[in-house]
Symmetry: D2
Subunit: 382 residues, 4 copies
């Protein structure tokens, strides 16, 4: 409608191009996107990736890259877990199991990333691959027998977990071998990946619940992170959420041993109800929990989702007085509106409703969504 004549010299225009190139580059390198998953009562919700690789085994990046990626993506802690036994770059990169940590540690300290020394014990199935983290020295784990390696890790007080249990199994379904029972009885592993990169193993999730293992979900990233996960389109690497008493390496270890973890994979959040329920409660807020409905007209409820978590709700019950949507999607960071409709023209007075829904992408077991209630009050008029 209105127009402003703008007379710019060529020179000025070029200045603009420069400014833009500067700020964009800066944005890329020096910008961190926090992951908004709320803390829960009593615990900080730390975002961790405890399985990554570098050029020191079969990865494609220098160790500092893993720290910088983690900082940019909003992680609190990572572990570089290069293979002990598989060193395809050894002609060019001098084998040294402790070097990735040494190289990356100063950058981690500078950026405030908790870097946990770790490694991947890489053997055929059974028992398959195991990560050992919180190590002092990786070298003692470089043994001929896998039992010796896992024992050496435990001797250092490591937290040991079974990696991608379904990898290379038929249909990616994990198999529990006698060797795993043996290790479990010895207390030699304390966790299991139920998600690795783009694979989710429901069977491993159930094992973890039954056998009291901590659940983990990690990236197992080898390439630059952007080559593996479509970050600009809102995707993220799998993340192990650790509910820790403080933001420190010892607190992460304590929480892992106490099995206070959840796994965030694509739009799925997986973990025990005792953790997922408070995450949900902290994430959402009903903006207008009290509404009026006249006869069979409608009322609009607005819910704000403070978190980065997509939450898909499915109604678990119908009511005589009001109709409730079958599904509600609470988009991350957004406020959404949905309608309640009166069913009868004769209702009057105020009534409390605990509308029960299943958060179907908050899994408290492989096939079980978290049950939640939306508490509202309706004032019926005629």
């Amino acid at each position: 409608m209105k127009f402003r004549t703008t007379k710019l010299t060529l020179l000025l225009s070029l200045v603009i191009f420069f400014i833009f190139s500067i700020s964009i580059c800066f944005a890329q390198i020096n910008t961190r996107s926090e992951i908004n998953i709320p803390d829960i009562p009593g615990y900080l919700t730390l975002k961790c990736d405890l399985h990554t690789h570098t050029v020191f085994s079969d990865g494609a990046v220098w160790p500092t890259v893993r720290v910088e990626e983690a900082w940019q993506e909003g992680l609190d802690a990572i572990s570089i877990t290069d293979h002990i036994e598989y060193l395809p770059h050894k002609e060019d990169v001098k084998p040294n199991h402790n070097r990735p940590y040494e190289i990356a540690k100063p950058r981690a300290d500078e950026l405030g990333i908790i870097l946990i020394k770790g490694t991947e014990i890489t053997r055929g199935m059974p028992p398959g691959h195991f990560n050992a983290i919180f190590l002092q020295d990786v070298d003692p784990l470089d043994t001929k027998e896998w039992r010796d390696a896992i024992k050496a890790a435990n001797d250092q007080g490591a937290f040991v977990f079974w990696n991608h249990p379904g990898w290379r199994q038929p249909d990616e379904i994990p198999i529990w071998y006698d060797e795993h029972s043996e290790l479990l009885q010895q207390g030699y592993f304390q966790g299991i990946e139920i998600v690795n990169q783009d694979s989710y193993y429901p069977k491993a999730f159930q094992w973890a619940l039954d056998k009291k293992l901590a659940i983990l979900g990690n990236s197992d990233v080898h390439s630059p992170i952007h080559n593996t996960f479509d970050l600009p389109n809102g995707k993220h690497r799998p993340i192990t959420l650790v509910f820790a008493k403080q933001k420190s390496e010892p607190a992460i270890k304590e929480a892992l041993l106490a099995r206070r973890t959840a796994v965030y994979h694509n739009d799925l959040l997986m973990g025990e109800e005792q953790f997922l329920n408070p995450v949900f409660e902290q994430a959402i807020r009903i903006l207008n929990p009290r509404v009026s409905i006249k006869g069979t007209s409608r009322a609009t409820i607005q819910i704000h989702n403070e978190s980065d978590l997509m939450i898909e709700l499915t109604s678990a019950k119908t009511f005589d007085e009001i109709s409730v949507p079958e599904t509600i999607t609470l988009y991350p960071g957004k406020t959404i509106a949905f309608q309640l409709n009166g069913k009868e023209t004769t209702m009057s007075g105020t009534k409390q409703f605990a509308l029960p829904f299943i958060a179907k992408n908050f899994l408290i077991a492989p096939d079980k969504g978290l049950s939640i209630n939306l508490n509202i009050e309706v004032n019926f008029t005629q």
Copy 2:
């Protein structure tokens, strides 16, 4: 690295297509993106657009569309201000100055949008166009003489402001006519648009400061909002920030009359220091205000910007002990890192710094950025 064989029937795939189309449509219509500009001590920061049009004058949308757009974009209040004198659709749309409000009000109530009854008095320059809002009845403003119209508005206790003062003036530079002095002396207008759609009038900003007028920035939108502003690419309509004691129509009026406003236009925030300073203070947080520097090495400071505001800082002072970046861009919703470098190898002990910067896109006058300090403490070691 790992692969999962997925055998899907055609049917299943189709189901997926459907699901996606549902959720996306839902997202569009029923989703609100809140605008994160913090409240300031003592006041809520309400986001308002007090100048919009519909098919009832020369706009292209039904009045309810203005309410729905406002809700989706995170606004708290709008006014539909159709022209009194310019009714190009009158052959098809029955002229009725009060109808846009009447039609839109139920939808506004349902969605919790504060809808303020208004109109645009649309005369040649001088005095040009004026909006009158908080009206009870628009009809008395439909007069032959413009002085009568503006008087009629004031008689209803309206808040009256001069629209797009530079429109159709040479180089879009506003001109202050005798008629404006006359109106000002009578107390017949209380505000002025310093931004209208994509035009910013620095001269009007200075007038407002000098003559004690409230500043406003409004969209003057005629088309569907997406046709005028590139919302999906992070652009937004101009917004009048109103610092109100509560979220209500009377509170907005009280704040406007008290000149407690600011204007948010593209990446510019404009207003008096008393408002912009607390907005800045509430928006940012230094995550690690205490750092150590050894000799001439570097320390990294991280700042989180909680708001949706891009903030461009320029250093206002150099220091003998440390070098500070010339510019820092605090991206909306992000954490950014910047380096301090020690300048001498002989420093030791702890020192407090109030690093002075100009927030160059927070304008407290047409050519003056807001001065702020970043308070940090450096522990120097050797």
Copy 3:
């Protein structure tokens, strides 16, 4: 690595903000995104939406908005088809069935959009809603009996089609009533919507194939288009592809009567094999159809998809000599790479392969994907 000191005055920075706001606004309003769906031998592939609404019935936009939206989204032709019988705005907008066309036509001519005069005959089921397009005058269709309205449309030589046949039916599954048989026998309707807004009716698709009706997919848009379809995230309104001898209104009518149409809905393309096959052939190109494989090593094939169509291929056959991917996704506008692996170490010589795939989102019947071949030549060495 390298750094350039940039000293900018505040003024200069502000200039930059302005420039950006200008160019973005311009981009929105005056920019058209062409839809890249290739022409096929003998015909132009015209993109049409033959079902839209305005404030003249129950829509929310002025008629010119429909033309501008169509131009921006890359359409060639639209019809505004306001309801005859349902006029909820009649208190404010003077009923006139021919006005939407009259108002929108000059804008359509200016922008090169083919605007087809139409209307929606809006009756209860049976027979439900029917669009009549290519009308000279809508008024004669405003009759008491629906049979008279449909006859009046046919008397004007209109193309008549059944809208959203599953709407408000149980589970949205369409029901064929005697009245539809009656109309079909009279030759009184020639097409059927198999897609309307976000609903796809497989049963209607099968009816169209069996009963020789043209298939259509239309938006039925009432709100501003951005409120209904998430265009910035790559979504699009349903489109009726018309394979026409030229870009003109008569050519579109001829093609519709000859049933040369397809429907483009989300990522689905639906139509007869005679149309979908040449679309596929024109859309993709194998960049390196001749490769060498040594023993059991791999070769990489690259395919470029020139079109805006996502194409999902599923392998339809296994081979003794080479392993072929189970699925290949040809992303719109991209080149993708996939691997062929040799299965035997003893192969030698050159062999032609017609690798059969099903394009599972190119539907030639409700449950049948298009069969295509990727023709390559492998030179086996040892």
Copy 4:
């Protein structure tokens, strides 16, 4: 308007999550975005980056990453040019100047990327850093004296160019030293970077024009490419466009020696008019070059820009008969519309116009945009 009830089991929903994660990952890794910059008569327009680093000097990625990034971003050719003299990883990565090429070559062959063996001779200023490409063996360039290194490169028939000439100079303005004159007289370097990463050196551009050096623009990328350039937001690394007789390594070398290059940096295209003019001509198409104007009414011209190049036009002349926009922005891949307005009511008859514009971001010299004409025909009526 219409609604479909969708009853999905939890299981089905989970399947959907999986499918999406698969396809996205596939997209990232196996998808190439072609760069649409048209070929020009007689030559292919090859997209090259002739300056990149890996872990073998001070880079942060394995050599194969450089090839994969290049393929994904639509490049035709790259050179890995690790420093000879600066090897900060030498404790961990065994120094070997030829290894990056050897490691990356098989992946380049598989993906069809032309990999050119190169290196960076890295000395203090003067003469600064020089890249030597098309080498057979890098080792002979590892000499004590820089003159010997550059001579050794030339002895192998290398193409040698001066890198980032303004780097670490005051205000990043390059300085021409006697040593550069010496090298130039000997014919020992044949090109110069006018763009390196985010720095553009106008002075180097002018030198190249005056002294008959080939111009180059390269990324000098050290980190993963996504850490340096904001690719998802439409940014790109600097690219040396090589106008080659065919797509082959020898053809690239021939073109470089013949100075048939241009530089594509942010939205700038820089090069001689003989190359930029045909690029422009091939990139754009006036869709309706013949229009009618009645009196002082308007006509709309539509121009399609087939390329990925943003093109900013500024009007270079006014006309008595028609008013022409001061600026036109031809967005990449879009059709844009602009208006011509008649200036007089008395014009009649048909007239040809060659509307002169400056493409201000197509630089044929540091301060000179390309002159182009838009040829149209106006039929004036009254």
